[in-house]
């Protein structure tokens, strides 16, 4: 519910100790579609131009001209809308390997505000030639983006609080897995319960109670910014979650590769 105060500007602390700052992002993109050496080289050089963006940085502002697409290397960002009376809703999240902005088709005016939820490392998304693996990866990424947005509509419209939390954590888990950012069912969760509430259309208080219940039921651990899902498969089954990527993505990449 708290609205964001004025944001700082990106600090151009260009990669100090490089090495694998783009590793997660590259893992995700290659998971979406095979990338060849040319693609990887493009990514590497793009990563050299990575910048660190502070917490709350506004990557885009609704109604303002859209910036060039950015590839997130580290950190989380989100599309957010704040209503006149202060109500806040997060609409989608950007994780390492995601593209902020119009990957493909032009779209001069931003339809949403995108803010950094953590300190973020991001670089300009390198554009591969048409038909390249990179272009393909962006296409799949964008399709996934929309699929998740559709999923969010169902989540908010028809799932109860418990289901929403489970569904959300599963989505994050699956997405971070692609980037290799999970360790046996556990992953880093920089969101506060309040932010989670604003993503799920609930109150922080109620989110908290439901999380505790999930803990008591042995479905969940959540401590100091780290979440562990005890049995993702089972949770997914009990709330009837269908994940776009597991089935969808693979097939998507294959189908358009052939």
């Amino acid at each position: 519910m708290t609205s964001f105060p004025a944001a700082l500007s990106p600090s151009s602390s260009s990669s100090p100790a490089r090495g694998g700052i783009a590793a997660a992002a590259i893992r995700r993109l290659t998971a979406l579609t095979p990338l060849d050496d040319a693609d990887l080289r493009l990514l590497d050089t793009a990563a050299d131009r990575a910048l660190t963006y502070p917490l709350r940085h506004a990557f885009q502002t609704i109604g303002r001209p859209m910036a060039d697409p950015l590839l997130v290397l580290q950190g989380w960002a989100a599309r957010v809308r704040i209503l006149p009376d202060g109500r806040r809703q997060f609409m989608s999240f950007y994780l390492p390997g995601d593209i902020i902005g119009p990957a493909h088709h032009e779209q001069p005016i931003a339809t949403a505000t995108v803010v950094a939820l953590t300190e973020c490392l991001a670089c300009p998304a390198p554009t591969g030639p048409a038909g390249s693996g990179l272009a393909q990866a962006y296409a799949v990424s964008e399709a996934l983006d929309e699929a998740y947005l559709l999923g969010r509509v169902v989540q908010l419209g028809r799932l109860n609080a418990q289901e929403r939390i489970g569904d959300f954590l599963l989505e994050i888990y699956e997405r971070l897995s692609l980037a290799g950012l999970t360790v046996g069912g556990s992953f880093e969760m920089p969101l506060t319960q309040e932010m989670l509430a604003d993503a799920l259309g609930l109150t922080p208080v109620h989110v908290n109670r439901m999380i505790q219940q999930a803990r008591r039921d042995g479905d969940l651990m959540w401590k100091s910014g780290r979440v562990l899902l005890r049995d993702p498969e089972r949770t997914a089954r009990t709330i009837g979650r269908v994940s776009p990527q597991v089935t969808g993505t693979q097939t998507m990449a294959q189908a358009s590769a052939g």
Copy 2:
């Protein structure tokens, strides 16, 4: 909540009494961006190949290969998801002048099921050369599509029942206005209250109560498939609705025209 029984197949009753069957769609597209004669000719010839699709026809099915993009000429369709236990959620609506399917970027697998909510008239969306008004119109249309989807997330996440109904009707009103399908604040509404409920994440019963309240408050008339908004502007103000098109679209077309 009722799930759709098996659907019939499209009847190829190709335009019997033509004349302006594509009029609404063309009005909408020209409202999005200026179209020249070549564009209009493409649209006209495409309209010759229009088909009538029966109620409940599945234009696309989730997980199945995606059909070629269709331009809706008459009738309503919607993206829908049905949960295993029967809960239903409409995610977005297609009105005359909207494109069902991937206007631009490829995307082989459908991420959602699209069904006809009324009998629909639709034709293959003619593809204009890159940079043509038609291509431009599709781009804007697609951007609007996403903007509406984002709006729906906010609606479901943070608006109460009254606000949701108002917001929804305003959205429809605005969109139909573009296609010239409104008459002084009133327009045809083929949805039942049950469908409306499944779009707004509510129960039919509660939708009904809220509508009656709106009627009592003099905000609304709804009779035999026709809705009249007494004072759209005021309603929009009281629920703090921001419409993407009024501000957004115009600017979008202009910005990318220049």
